[in-house]
Symmetry: C2
Subunit: 219 residues, 2 copies
DNA sequence: ATAAATATTTAAGCTTACTTAAAAATATTT
DNA sequence: AAATATTTTTAAGTAAGCTTAAATATTTAT
């Protein structure tokens, strides 16, 4: 399927997941930066391909086939984000932009290889869940925030749930990266600060940060 | 520029480098799997964009601008091949296919990051040169074959110059991979065998293999 | 409930990147 | 050098994925 089609079903999927939940052509058009007319047109075509249900003036509803396609694209997007984030020193914004293009040119085989390489992660660097190759999404997150960790234990960073540039700059400077290992050397119950050892450096974090950094206990 | 345009200039560039050297529309068409008419059509359009010189019934000649574009695509292709080869256990054939798609969706920024990550390699896993960001190609290869190495020294694998599947299967099994480090433990002048230490394993190679494995001395 | 505002749909048209078929030029063979 | 074969070009047409403008339906506000 084409890039346009993949982006179309992805936009419906994402809009459907959101609070507003509006999947009428106009909203999808806005998301994709195309005209309403083009969205209606595409919707009719995709209905013929059994990717969505189309009824005039109604919300667009993905079929199972359409949902599967959307999840497959989302999977590839988030796997690319995770890989690029791990390998390169790039801003999350840049990473998102690259992944937006690469997601459409990635075979299932390559996606699986990326996933395997990363240890089949369940979440991308934003903390968004990565669908598995069957399109299943893990909603139960076993990770905990850094503020809820125990002294002396070692953890692996699993989510950096933020869109804040400054936070990510800080993370970049101190090796706080998806997949990296941290040792919690001290938890200060008084002022809710956490002292961690990462990459041979001791750093002190306040609750603003420890509450958005998610980790998993190392096996 | 579009994928079609990028592939078109790339095909001219590659055909121009080959022995036959035929860059008439028919040959480019064959390379790309499109009709002769489509190739002529495209040639006229690209001439207007100053990417090539077009004269009826003559060979297509890339302009400087066109050559630059072709080299940029080739660079991205080969960087992707090098990266995928390093990271994943995929056949060179699969890697080529993935790179063929990814090359068109890769920003210059990402290309530079990949290059940097790999240590700015001058050759891809096939042994083909990787143009730098200015489109310059290193033709002088400082690497030597494994058969010409010295005992006791450590080298980094720089080229595996083969298209043979069995050779690459062997390489995969023994960690003979682009970028990996080998210690030459013994050179047998008599039967031209080479004993190397790689990934904590000692293996013995005959000249068939040591003459197509290129390495650089470790600094 | 009706008028005004907004959204959707239809219709006509554009560009890109192809196709096939026929005409024109070039290359090859004898 | 002429005849034949091949290649290139032109011409006409198609599908995808858009656009704008106008018609139609729905939603919101009064």
């Amino acid at each position: 399927m084409s890039v346009a089609v993949e982006n179309f079903v992805k936009a419906i999927y994402k809009n459907g997941k959101r609070d507003n939940n509006d999947t009428k052509p106009g909203n999808i058009a806005k998301e994709l930066g195309i005209s309403n007319a083009a969205a209606t047109d595409m919707a009719k075509k995709l209905a013929l391909k059994d990717l969505l249900h189309y009824q005039k003036y109604q919300e667009l509803k993905l079929t199972d086939k359409g949902t599967k396609m959307a999840l497959n694209v989302v999977r590839k997007h988030r796997l690319w984000e995770a890989l690029l984030f791990k390998l390169f020193d790039l801003s999350l914004h840049d990473i998102h932009r690259e992944a937006e293009l690469l997601e459409h040119q990635t075979s299932d085989l390559l996606a699986n290889k990326i996933s395997e390489y990363l240890g089949n992660p369940k979440f991308d660097p934003h903390g968004d869940p990565i669908p598995n190759s069957d399109g299943e999404i893990t909603t139960i997150d076993t990770s905990i925030t850094l503020s809820n960790t125990e002294e002396g234990k070692t953890y692996i960073i699993s989510r950096l749930m933020s869109d804040d540039k400054e936070f990510f700059d800080f993370c970049g400077q101190h090796g706080l990266k998806y997949g990296n290992t941290v040792l919690v050397s001290k938890q200060f119950s008084k002022n809710k600060m956490t002292q961690i050892l990462i990459k041979n450096n001791t750093i002190l974090l306040n609750e603003d940060f420890t509450s958005i950094i998610y980790v998993n206990e190392q096996d």
